[in-house]
Amino acid sequence: MTMARGAMARRVLSRLGGMIVVLALLVTVVFVIVRVTPGDPAAVMLGPDATQADIDQLRAQLGLDQPMLVQYFLYLGQLLHGDLGQSIFLNQPVLSALADRAEPTFFLTIFSILIATIIGVPVGIIAAYKRGTLFDQAVVVAAMLSASIPSFWLGLLLIQWFSVQMGWFPTSGYGGPYAGFFDRIQHLVLPAVSLGIVNSALIVRFTRASMLDVLQEDYVRTARSKGMSEFRAVMRHAFKNALIPIVTVIGLTLALLISGAVVTETVFGLPGVGSLVVSAVLRRDYPVIQGALLVVAAIYVLINFLIDMLYVVIDPRVRY
């Protein structure tokens, strides 16, 4: 056991170290991309009518007149203090702009992944268990189709049916600044459902494939030979062994959902991080784009780390 714990600590430390390296690389890449983008950001921000004096002043204000290396270390220093810079148009720090918009994106992502998992995992298990039946074939076809549906299109359909015709849900927005929690959640139902359904396709396919493999393992036959119910044999002995690919694909889907928020939030008029990024791009608000990019990338890395730690929880063979 102590040996196992030592190996465990080593694994966590090495993954944490890896995470820091990846984050440092990310910061550097984002920094370089912004610097090599054609055009002087200050000139672009100020528009074609700006005088050279205005441009120079803004360059000095943004620190763009410093040598590249100095800028890089200044930027790193800022990041270490949790400072993502100042938005040019919003008159507030990038971090607080992101924080203001985080709630709808956070809940949208969480609800979407929950819906995708609640649909995807059971459907995948049942399809694998009933391999070759009509149900299974229907699931395979449906998963293929829904993976090729753009989620914004499904979103528009849902708005058309449930908001415009039935009037069950609001068509757009997040209820305004004074909306209560329940009101805000209600605004998230349709976007979360459309994202959840579309993203369940991948989870269905991975769950089904993984279960098909595991169901024919000898230990599942051993489980049955012990006289347990099919449900117990399938869930406790097969499904648990199928979990690693399933957990991986759920993590991947979660990461995709965060980047997919840009489109969905625009379609549903949600004031989240996605729509903040869209308007920042339109207005060339570089510090915001740069900050959002970094935060999303950092979340990706964090999700990956958490999945890796989940492997350890699931599979004892990883622990030694």
Partner: protein, 363 residues
């Protein structure tokens, strides 16, 4: 030369009429004319075509036969654990429960069968490396078995699991309960499988080639262990193998299978001394010691025996079984009558049966 009539009248163990003492309380498993098929017409694989045998209380019955002869399918049919696409197409499987009543396993619902599996009939498999769940500790896997069939809690079940590990001679059993299968060697895992299978003291243990995947020295240890436990616990054992050496070591009774059919059944010594089917004869001669040591001396042997070593040809495909004797294409004694119709399994001695129309010439 051929006395087909006699053979017919002696056909006592066939599907049609089996005047074998069914109420003989000693018999705990009676398989009659079992047919197990895979696939749908026109491509039906008759994995088990006509299997009839008896297992008595406290007795080890070995089932021998080449790869593909239907040994595993027959044993999985008994457990009602056939792989997808497999179904029992005919015959019957009757089992005497602990209560003493004989029940037809093939007629039970899955729910009723679950009470039998593990509790009254347990099974161990060929592959110890893959037969245990890699994500559960061995203690929990054994405890699960007891908790499924007896009203006891986890703590008690784990204590029982420890006793089972001691019973199968795993050293420092108490410290191993928390081990995962990948921490154990193949031989140790097979011991764990045995502990698991015996946790509820089953009346019948089906062991499907439990030693085939192991090193020779480990094989011997596992055989010894099974032999000891079988005797101590007074259970019956259906021991599947393709190794006649193993049969000689462990079996009281032997069932020989060929292409999905039982072709001969006899007490172990009788089978080795006086085989009454050309296929068994061929097997004995294709196997080195101790089979040959037990066979009759060279002087008394019919010339045909020499020509049978080793058996030329292959087992017929299960989808294209011949009409008559399935061994005919490889049999040196084959005559036209052999292929006319399927030879019945006949009693050649009170406790010796053969599915060969020329069995008399082999005596």
């Amino acid at each position: 030369m051929l006395r087909t009539g006699d053979a017919m009248s002696a056909a006592v163990m066939t599907k049609a009429g089996a005047p074998l003492a069914e109420d003989d309380p000693d018999i705990i498993l009676a398989v009659d004319g079992l047919e197990t098929h895979f696939g749908r017409p026109p491509r039906v694989a008759k994995a088990v075509d006509d299997v009839t045998f008896r297992v008595r209380a406290g007795e080890t019955v070995a089932v021998v036969g080449e790869s593909g002869s239907g040994k595993s399918v027959a044993s999985l049919s008994i457990m009602q654990l056939l792989a997808r696409g497999g179904r029992i197409a005919g015959g019957s499987i009757r089992f005497r429960q602990r209560s003493g009543t004989m029940i037809a396993l093939d007629k039970l619902s899955q729910k009723e069968m679950r009470k039998i599996r593990g509790a009254e009939i347990a099974m161990i498999f060929q592959e110890p490396m893959t037969s245990l769940n890699p994500l559960m500790t061995i203690g929990d896997q054994i405890a699960e078995m007891t908790m499924l069939h007896e009203p006891i809690g986890r703590t008690k079940a784990l204590e029982h699991a420890r006793q089972m590990l001691e019973l199968v001679e795993i050293p420092a059993a108490g410290n191993r309960l928390g081990d995962y299968p990948h921490q154990l060697s193949g031989g140790m895992r097979q011991r764990v499988m045995i502990a698991l299978a015996l946790a509820c003291k089953p009346r019948l243990l089906i062991a499907d080639e439990p030693t085939t995947a192991l090193d020779v020295t480990i094989q011997k240890q596992i055989l010894r262990l099974l032999e000891r436990l079988q005797a101590e616990m007074g259970m019956s054992m259906l021991f599947i193998t393709h190794n006649l050496g193993v049969v000689a070591e462990i079996a009281h009774e032997v069932v020989v299978m060929y292409a999905g059919r039982v072709v001969e059944q006899a007490p172990m010594r009788e089978l080795f001394r006086k085989p009454r089917h050309p296929y068994t004869l061929g097997l004995l001669h294709a196997t080195p010691n101790p089979a040959r040591d037990l066979a009759p001396s060279a002087g008394g042997e019919p010339a045909v025996r020499r020509r049978l070593t080793p058996i030329p040809g292959n087992v017929p495909s299960t989808t294209e079984l011949p009409d008559g004797c399935s061994f005919a294409p490889r049999c040196p004694l084959r005559i036209d009558a052999c292929e006319a119709r399927k030879p019945p399994l006949v009693k050649v001695d009170p406790d010796h049966a053969s599915r060969c129309i020329r069995h008399e010439e082999l005596s």
